[in-house]
Symmetry: C2
Subunit: 375 residues, 2 copies
């Protein structure tokens, strides 16, 4: 129940465990053709989606080095560990970051983006998270896109690593210029693949970009994808699994997936509150992950440890400044209602074991009521 | 029978098809501890081996951006597609490359390196391939290392992507400063992982390096490896497979593996000659891969296609300027004597089908004689 790697469906594991295929063989090219279509469906875009053999961070770096030039200015939203990562990557490449510091646990307000753009006319790109995994916050992507779209010379770059396939992010409809995702979250795959969509507006940035790059090269990848190939040796087994995972997404249907995750997120949040806990981001929660405050006299790490060692359930603790203060339950990818119920039950029992005054079943019963009609 | 991906043993596939493990869980940390030891055995080094989730090219870029600074000068050996890649990466990052152009199919002479170092006193690094996959050439790594070792302010960077675990490259003993490898060659894994060893001398370069980098960061990775973690989400399923592959390497023993590949390479080369074909790199062949000239009146692509469509055997064609002129049979990773015999038999039959005057069995019989006592 961590924010990635999420569980991998049997069907995907089985697909990946077949004999290895050569990445220039016709059989692999046919698989990549399916994958290209599946990614377009997932992203709701007509444009090509770039595939990198890397973790999500690699694709975040790719988004920076392929669109910008040295000395460019950008806006980042530092409201969590991954927002800070955008700022760190910009700094590493000599890009000037105007950092909007948002308290961890809160979403950036669209007006803050508007103001920053107004006072820094030369900003080339706005970098945000659709779902800030470290805090469980969902930032208002659509509203921000509406603002950035009006600026002819600014693109919106969205880290959707823990959001794509979980919450609605229709790339073409909303005008999201660059959207980064990874394989180990909503896509129900092991980690090792990352994806980037690039809008027409962003491709103009790519054609002008002079930041140094080699392995992460959108132009080279796009040229190769047109021939159902990759610029460099792809992670073949993960691509084979990806075709299967994308088939599952299509069979269920994106809209239905979004609805399911919304209900499971709701059940998790209300279940936590029902057992007497406080949410860390009550005002702008992401449907990907729920961050829950540890009771004041219990260390978050003890909850994480108790869940794992006694009940065999892995959740995430807090990162950086939130270490020990929160724990996080993810509800994305291959999870269903009983994963939520089990986890809430285990949290109740763990809290009881740690001496917290919790009524057993108090959270679970709330979740059951929400989940009972989930399709 | 291509130079990667090479076949993946059942045992490794089975290990990888288990349920996904979280990369911060104790169970994964125990696996990474085993992997760290196994990589040290494979590299014959006491130093930590860095692991990246990327293809081999990503780790080549990592070797450049982690050791050098803008304006540094380096020597590259352009004797094939991958030698050219070193030069391309250097150029992409504003590093001045002194390129030694060697005709494709020949090895660089140690004296050429010595001369280039003498006339360019400020060279910070020498970049070579242990096995140039595009031509089937093995460069004289040990002799070059003996030369570079004498220069206090120059390191040797070796692309061993298709060499590690196939031919002897004892890193500490020979004083190889940076050695890059990939998962899909000698290591019998699917592609998606890359490895880099870093000598004490090279770590000094790392501490001074100012080229921009974020995802590929040796310092950050080394710090995390000491805690049995990775800086960014690792390719979990491939790491699980890696532990199994490294266990197989240890069980067989490195020296025995080297001997086996040497005999299989010898059988492939002499088998090809035995059926009336010419080797592309007869003077300095790599034991990883054998490049064979297509007969003058037959297109190399027709041989590759015939092998695949009629006999179900995938070999590699020629790349870039060698397209259509050669075909390449790899003998690395999880291959045994009968893979060599089958492939040679299929080449004979394919040549016959294409109208080439070949005596069936003429190459196979030569190979059998060499392989009959292979342990």
């Amino acid at each position: 129940m961590t924010p990635g790697p999420t569980p991998v469906p049997e069907r995907v594991l089985t697909a990946m465990s077949g004999p290895i295929i050569h990445h220039r063989a016709p059989r692999f090219e046919a698989i990549l053709a399916d994958v290209r279509e599946g990614l377009k469906y997932l992203y709701k875009t007509k444009k090509e989606v770039i595939i990198h053999a890397s973790s999500g961070t690699g694709a975040m770096e790719a988004a920076v080095v392929n669109t910008l030039s040295p000395g460019d200015s950008v806006i980042t939203v530092r409201g969590g560990k991954f927002g800070e990562r955008w700022a760190e990557i910009a700094a590493a490449y000599g890009v000037n970051a105007v950092n909007i510091d948002v308290p961890w646990g809160q979403a950036v307000k669209p007006a803050q983006i508007e103001e920053a753009l107004a006072s820094h006319k030369d900003v080339k790109a706005v970098f945000i998270q659709a779902s800030e995994t470290s805090t469980g916050v969902g930032h208002p992507v659509k509203e921000i896109a509406d603002i950035v779209r009006k600026k002819a010379d600014t693109i919106l770059v969205v880290d959707a690593i823990s959001a794509l396939g979980v919450i609605p992010l229709p790339v073409d409809e909303w005008g999201l210029d660059v959207v980064v995702a990874g394989s180990q979250k909503g896509l129900m795959l092991p980690p090792g693949l990352a994806f980037v969509s690039v809008s027409d507006k962003a491709w103009e940035f790519v054609s002008r970009s002079t930041l140094p790059k080699y392995y992460f090269n959108f132009k080279k990848e796009e040229k190769n994808l047109a021939k159902n190939q990759n610029a460099y040796t792809p992670a073949v087994s993960l691509i084979v699994g990806l075709r299967e995972a994308l088939a599952i997404v299509k069979e269920i249907g994106l809209e239905k997936l979004f609805d399911r995750f919304a209900v499971m997120a709701d059940a998790t949040r209300k279940g936590a509150v029902g057992m007497g806990l406080e949410l860390f981001a009550p005002d702008s929660p992401s449907n990907s992950i729920t961050a829950i405050k540890a009771p004041s006299d219990i260390a978050g790490g003890d909850i994480v440890k108790g869940l794992r060692t006694v009940y065999g359930i892995t959740v995430a603790g807090g990162q950086d400044t939130l270490k020990g203060k929160i724990f996080r339950i993810a509800h994305m990818g291959w999870v269903d209602r009983f994963d939520i119920i089990m986890t809430l039950a285990a949290v109740e029992m763990t809290l009881k074991n740690l001496g917290f005054d919790v009524k057993l079943g108090s959270g679970v019963s709330v979740a059951e009521d929400i989940l009972k009609n989930l399709e």
